[in-house]
């Protein structure tokens, strides 16, 4: 079982419409890029699943989109606040790839900065719905950016091993265009460790728990 620690908030900084929640690392380990953590959401019953965005020797950081009561509570945390964090959980990206290319869409860029570091900063293409959302690209210096109505899939050059995270339609489009791509999926999740059976998604024609079978899955080759 991964560690569950009380982590101290360093800051929740705005990045475009999102917030980068930085916490003291303590005894938590960052894990493999694409793995996720369950973050206690103040005042809410259930924790929220977040992939790790950045790791330093002393901090972990999570990029959060304040779209509901739990994520808004997380984005409103103040320096010095404490929250319980469980992780790392699930299966991350495989890093033994030739000519990697990172593809991100919207809040799906969250795991890419940590992944970029692990892969020594490969090229990246990012898609956003507005200029404001695209401000988050500051987390991936040098990335090529597409803003709606241009689609990020239009920027994908051939001949790369694609590692992608983003909204479901984007991931399906990437899978169709790049067989064998590694895709990080998302599902509502109450626990993150196989207990709640809430995060079922269709994998190979069967409903399986994304927390145990993912969140990173390889697209059919």
């Amino acid at each position: 079982m991964p560690k569950r620690e009380q982590a101290r908030v360093v800051a929740a900084e705005p990045v475009g419409p999102y917030a980068l929640l930085r916490v003291e690392r303590g005894r938590l380990v960052p894990g493999v890029p694409g793995q996720f953590f369950m973050l206690e959401a103040p005042g809410r019953l259930l924790p929220r699943a977040m992939s790790l965005c950045l790791a330093t020797a002393s901090e972990l950081a999570f990029l959060i989109d304040p779209i509901g009561p739990g994520t808004r509570a997380l984005c409103s945390l103040e320096p010095g606040d404490r929250l319980a964090i469980l992780g790392p959980l699930g299966n991350g990206f495989r890093l033994d790839v030739e000519r990697p290319l990172l593809v991100g869409g919207g809040i799906g860029i969250a795991p890419l900065p940590y992944l970029a570091e692990a892969l020594r900063f490969p090229p990246a293409v990012l898609g956003f719905r507005s200029e404001l959302h695209a401000e988050a690209a500051v987390l991936l210096p040098g990335a090529e950016i597409a803003i709606d109505p241009t689609l990020v899939t239009e920027l994908i050059p051939s001949g790369h091993s694609v590692l992608a995270c983003g909204p479901e339609p984007m991931l399906h489009a990437v899978a169709a265009r790049c067989p064998g791509a590694q895709l990080a999926w998302e599902a509502p999740m109450a626990c993150g460790f196989g207990a709640c059976y809430g995060c079922a998604v269709e994998i190979g024609g069967q409903l399986k728990r994304l927390c145990l079978e993912g969140p990173v899955r390889r697209a059919a080759a």
């Binding site: 809410r44 019953l45 509502p188 207990a195 809430g198 079922a200 409903l207 145990l212």
Partner: protein, 282 residues
């Protein structure tokens, strides 16, 4: 008093360290045939609880007996097997196939599947004929007179009761005003359910004096004491495991200074209850 998990709230094979904190592991409900469960989304958070519509996802009786059960035995934790079905024979056949487990819990009240055609008492009677293992009947507080159901299953041969299952609820997406869950409704669990659980345990203890596994919104040692005071012999944790997998150890710690045997049924003896409350570790 045993501390268990509520059926369906833990996979001991995926998280054995969580299960090892418990005095017994209660499996997900096993049905005769494998079930994938309901289409996603299957869970939704509510103001003070959550809804689930998993729909009894399980490997089915044969794969459970040949694959899962032997692996669960290797964990060395006492096993309670939750049994489900769609008629009395479904339940009885699974009971007949089980041996060397601590107890069988008959899931007579899942809000996320179509109900069995037979009554709770008919199912318990059929299972009683099929096994000598302890049989706990898991009932729903959605029944207007749960004590009468408790008396009926007691007469049919139940050794104990599991109280309560989730209650059917609905959550809407605030943007679309459509149900969040693909199935529409789901079972409500978490702190919202606790007063309902207390009332059910209180009524069924008074009606039957059968051993009761109390559950519904337990998050603290105080919640455990409340259920025990209403008549629960054992207590199960469910939803709290999702947010806090170490909750069983914490709750045990909160109860370390309390003799739960002394508290048992205290809510039925009004003059004593204040003393017990004072003993709870804050």
């Amino acid at each position: 008093m045993l501390l268990l998990n509520a059926s369906g709230c833990l996979d001991a094979l995926a998280a054995p360290e969580v299960a090892r904190q418990l005095d017994g592991f209660v499996t997900k409900t096993i049905t005769p045939l494998p079930r994938e469960g309901n289409a996603p989304p299957r869970i939704a958070e509510t103001a003070h609880g959550m809804l689930n519509a998993i729909g009894l996802a399980n490997p089915g009786r044969e794969r459970f007996l040949s694959g899962h059960l032997p692996r669960l035995r290797e964990l060395g934790i006492p096993l309670w097997v939750s049994v489900g079905g769609f008629c009395a024979a479904d339940y009885a056949d699974t009971c007949a196939a089980l041996d060397h487990v601590e107890a069988i819990e008959l899931n007579l009240s899942c809000p996320n599947v179509d109900e069995a055609a037979d009554s709770a008492a008919e199912i318990v009677a059929a299972c009683r004929r099929a096994t000598k293992l302890p049989l706990y009947a898991k009932l729903s507080a959605a029944h207007p007179d749960i004590a009468s159901v408790a008396r009926a299953v007691a007469a049919a041969g139940a050794d104990g009761l599991s109280l309560v299952n989730t209650l059917r609820g609905l959550a809407l997406d605030p943007r679309t005003l459509q149900p969040v869950l693909a199935r529409g409704t789901g079972g409500l669990s978490g702190p919202s359910l606790k007063p309902v659980a207390l009332a059910a345990v209180h009524a069924c203890y008074a009606a039957t004096r059968l051993p009761i596994v109390g559950m519904g919104g337990v998050t603290s040692g105080q919640d455990v004491l409340d259920l025990v005071a209403c008549g629960a012999s054992h207590v199960a944790v469910g939803t709290v495991l999702f947010s806090e997998p170490v909750a069983p150890s914490r709750i045990r710690g909160e109860l370390s200074a309390v003799d739960t045997d002394e508290v048992m049924g205290a809510a039925h003896r009004a003059e004593k209850s204040l003393e017990f409350r004072a003993k709870v570790v804050a």
